[in-house]
């Protein structure tokens, strides 16, 4: 059966119900999308063919130290079999497993074409944006780069619930350079796990222009918030975590003048309803952070992040479809 774009003259995107059955709203393209898996239409991405991330290997001063390479998806997710490309001069490895001289993992023995003296640890210096907006999250300071391999021989990538993840150390790791367009709404979906619920204030996502407008963790509570000016007043929605792998879905709209945050398909918590324009409007920001406060100087997230997707629209109507797509891969709840 061919695809159809309209039904009785009504665009399919505008059809809310057919024969009494609710039709999920189409998921439109995100503003930025980062994941260890290859994202697709389930989060609004039509086709992404680029690499997953750029990584740096650390050989403790030995051969090949600090060389970098892009790594591709391998059957839809990064793995030690991921092909590498665009590597530093002198690199002859063809897979991530060879690039870090990992040894034998899962019955596969990876050769050591670059003659490393041991297994390299591996860090991410650029998490590629799959949205098509070239909104790559980067970290040019070597000590602030999240990690994907520990450097232990015969050991797989760092994983969470069986899938690879980026480990943020809580000391100084974060990404920057994420641009957020001016909008009347934001929606976020992320898969993450805090290392502990005992820490102080940490930021998962922070916008550069204010201490508000962010996804944060404090103790055992994730919060998503936004704000109005004169004076600055925050609206905040919160959910608790047991430092387990969580799927968070949050959105904020200027129509409702409030934020909502839900965890693992559960009921939304709703923030205070404000009265003035929320500062998602007219605040195009070019250096939002993933994993730290707004200026990258503190409040670092201690845990791991596997996926973070940001829309500059209200996608609450697509929550079920988006969560189904994400949970279908990560099996969180």
């Amino acid at each position: 059966m061919p695809d159809i774009s309209e039904l009785n003259g009504t665009a399919i995107d505008n059809v809310a119900e057919f024969d009494g059955v609710a039709v999920p709203a189409a998921v439109s393209a995100p503003a930025a999308a980062y994941s260890v898996r290859l994202l697709g239409s389930g989060v609004g991405i039509s086709s992404y063919t680029g690499p997953a991330m750029r990584v740096r290997r650390d050989t403790a001063g030995g051969t090949g130290d600090d060389d970098e390479a892009d790594i591709a998806f391998d059957s839809g997710v990064i793995s030690l079999d991921s092909a590498i490309s665009n590597a530093s001069a002198g690199v002859t490895a063809t897979t991530l497993g060879e690039f870090i001289n990992v040894g034998t993992v899962g019955g596969t023995t990876y050769s050591n074409p670059d003659s490393l003296s041991g297994t390299a640890s591996c860090f991410v210096d650029e998490w590629k944006d799959q949205s098509g907006n070239a909104n790559d999250a980067s970290q040019a300071t070597f000590g602030s780069q999240p990690q994907i391999h520990s450097g232990t021989v015969n050991t797989d990538l760092i994983t969470e619930n069986g899938e690879p993840t980026l480990d943020f150390d809580g000391s100084n790791d974060f990404f920057r350079s994420i641009a957020v367009a001016s909008a009347t709404a934001n929606t976020i979906a992320t898969v993450l796990k805090a290392d502990s619920t005992l820490g102080g204030l940490q930021k998962v996502f922070a916008r550069p222009n204010s201490t508000a407008g962010q996804l944060r963790l404090s103790g055992a509570q994730y919060s998503f918030d936004d704000y109005e000016l004169s004076p600055i007043t925050t609206t905040r929605a919160s959910v608790t975590t047991a430092a387990a792998q969580d799927l968070l879905f949050g959105y904020v709209t200027n129509t409702n003048k409030t934020v909502r945050l839900g965890k693992n398909g559960g009921t939304f918590d709703v923030g205070t309803t404000l009265t003035k324009d929320l500062q998602i409007i007219g605040t195009a920001e070019t250096d939002a952070k993933l994993g730290s406060k707004r200026d990258g100087s503190a409040e670092y997230f201690n845990g791991n992040i596997q996926e973070f997707v940001l829309w500059t629209t209200d996608h609450s109507a697509s929550r079920s479809a988006i969560e189904s797509d994400i949970n279908g891969f990560f099996s969180i709840f």
């Binding site: 750029r54 740096r56 001063g61 130290d65 600090d66 060389d67 970098e68 665009n86 590597a87 530093s88 001069a89 210096d125 650029e126 980067s138 970290q139 040019a140 300071t141 070597f142 000590g143 602030s144 780069q145 100084n172 204030l201 201490t211 944060r216 406060k293 707004r294 200026d295 990258g296 100087s297 503190a298």
Partner: protein, 137 residues
């Protein structure tokens, strides 16, 4: 770990504090990975984080005096020394000798900080207003 805040003065004509701090930080990274071995596609360019003073706009490098910085055998100090015009020549010569003696090895970052540089502890930096954001509830 011994964190040190190193405010960078805009003492080089044509360079702001931010530009000079970035250039120095880039040269510290090149102690470990000199330009001669870098790839044009390298993302990693800096050794330490930097912070900006909220009112003066001055930038400070946030270093660790106890961290052992790897010194690449092919290290070239020319550009780093050019960024430190206020450092006495005698001290620069000493730095060159020290780095040359440790090519392929490591040196504590604290040994690389010029005598002319202001060094602030966390408490001192806080008192001077480097961290303005209020603690949120």
């Amino acid at each position: 770990m011994a964190t040190v805040y190193l405010p960078v003065e805009a003492t080089i004509p044509g360079m702001t504090s931010a530009e000079r701090a970035e250039a120095i930080d880039r040269e510290v990274w090149r102690l470990r990975r000199p330009l001669s071995v870098q790839s044009p596609n390298d993302i990693t360019q800096f050794y330490y984080p930097r912070i900006t003073h909220p009112t003066t706009g001055q930038v400070a490098i946030v270093g660790d005096t106890e961290e052992n910085v790897r010194i690449h055998p092919d290290v070239d100090l020319t550009d780093l020394l050019a960024l430190l015009p206020e450092v006495p020549q005698e001290e620069k010569d000493g730095l060159v000798l020290y780095i040359d003696a440790n090519r392929g090895g490591t040196v504590p970052f604290g040994q690389l900080i010029p005598s002319t540089s202001t060094q602030l502890t966390q408490v001192e930096a806080e008192a001077l207003g480097w961290f303005p954001d209020p603690i949120e509830p």
